[in-house]
Symmetry: C2
Subunit: 217 residues, 2 copies
DNA sequence: TACGAAATGGAACCCGCTTCCAGGTAGCCT
DNA sequence: AGGCTACCTGGAAGCGGGTTCCATTTCGTA
């Protein structure tokens, strides 16, 4: 009798089959977005591709933006995790007793950003997706944004272990903002990719340069 | 006979009456946007309010986004210019021989940003307009963006006269990005206004702190 | 097996940007 | 002045795509 159909079912109360359906939707977006920019991606096509009925899609996501945001969050998390492990592997490779001193914060962060940038270069539509989602006013999309933000912050904080929090926090903010805004400018053609890379390097050096030497005794 | 109606007439080739019409359109947007967020603003209403026929509007602007971008650029320029003069007035007030030393770069820039932020706080829909325009893919909108970017850069460069360009340039980039991204987060409800202010202060101090003392001999 | 909830396929709704058209109007050249 | 041309107006479609609805089928469970 009660039909609180207002908001999408919370993820936690979903049956496995439903979670699978939900995931098929986000996966379809991730697959398709490489070919088609977010604003040209149509709900009809996503539904068809994922094998989920269009009407059903709207039981899982409040709007197209919500779906896009969820897909993006998923992709972004995977990317960040992958890059994080790569960077920390590179870290430990030279860190043992090989004589090579462990890289400084600045180098480490730059390496991290470079890898993320490479991913975006290979998949420009994901960069477009970032700006699209950030511009969305759907509250559910905002939630996803917040979640990814937390994740990113955690990763960067880990990379900046040697840096005092008073510096690390604003540094993170500045870097995230520069990245987001740079991706937007790049995809819109207001910035070349090399310039984007350079900007991030410069900003990184500016905010983290003084801490490059690990643990200055 | 020839009907190259593809792009809007360039501003430079317009008669005064046409420039007036064009301005009436952007002015109408500026007046209305305070009440209605950009995505709810309708071309029909803008046309009606400005007294320009809808079809004619499209002879001046390639799309809604283009019109929004132009209006935004106009507002932003006015704001920046106003704030710039205010700040430089405050500068000279204490700079003559009043015994008060001229404020350092960091303080100056912070003052500038505070004033801009205040304007956005009073007119949240203009903040939304910023993110909307930045997310637009209309190339004409991008042009406007680039123009405003140049303007902003010029103003900030002037404020940072004491800072070596190697620092000033990335500092500017970081600040602009932090501002843009912060405005987006604020209007989306992911950030409170005080937090937004704080973030900008922190980043400013981080990137310009070392240069706070004017001309360290 | 029977029942209710959820999914399906597809059509239909809706709304706002954009375009098109049939008159007017204003400048401009001769 | 007369007329030509380019531009403007008001309004009516065109159109695309997100969103919603519904009759029917499927699925999970008691």
């Amino acid at each position: 009798m009660a039909k609180e159909e207002t908001l999408p079912q919370p993820v936690s109360t979903m049956t496995p089959a439903q979670l699978a359906r939900r995931r098929r939707l986000t996966d379809a977006v991730i697959e398709m977005i490489d070919q088609v920019p977010p604003d040209q991606l149509q709900m009809r096509d996503v539904a068809e591709r994922s094998g989920v009925a269009l009407g059903t899609a709207y039981r899982y996501f409040s709007s197209k933006d919500h779906l896009l945001a969820a897909a993006w969050a998923d992709w972004q998390r995977r990317l960040t995790d992958r890059v994080r492990t790569e960077v920390s592997r590179d870290q430990s490779r030279g860190g043992g007793n090989s004589g090579i001193p462990p890289a400084g914060v600045c180098t480490r962060v730059t390496a991290f950003l470079h890898r993320e940038l490479r991913a975006f270069q290979r998949h420009p539509n994901f960069a477009r997706l970032v700006t699209h989602v950030e511009g969305s006013s759907d509250p559910f999309a905002s939630e996803e944004l917040a979640g990814v933000g937390d994740n990113n912050r955690a990763v960067l904080t880990a990379l900046m272990e040697d840096v005092p929090p008073d510096v690390a926090r604003p540094a993170m903010i500045a870097l995230n903002a520069t990245l987001a805004s740079g991706l937007g400018a790049w995809t819109a053609g207001r910035l070349t990719f090399p310039d984007l890379v350079r900007q991030l390097e410069d900003v990184t050096r500016l905010v983290l340069g003084p801490y490059e030497n690990p643990r200055p005794a």
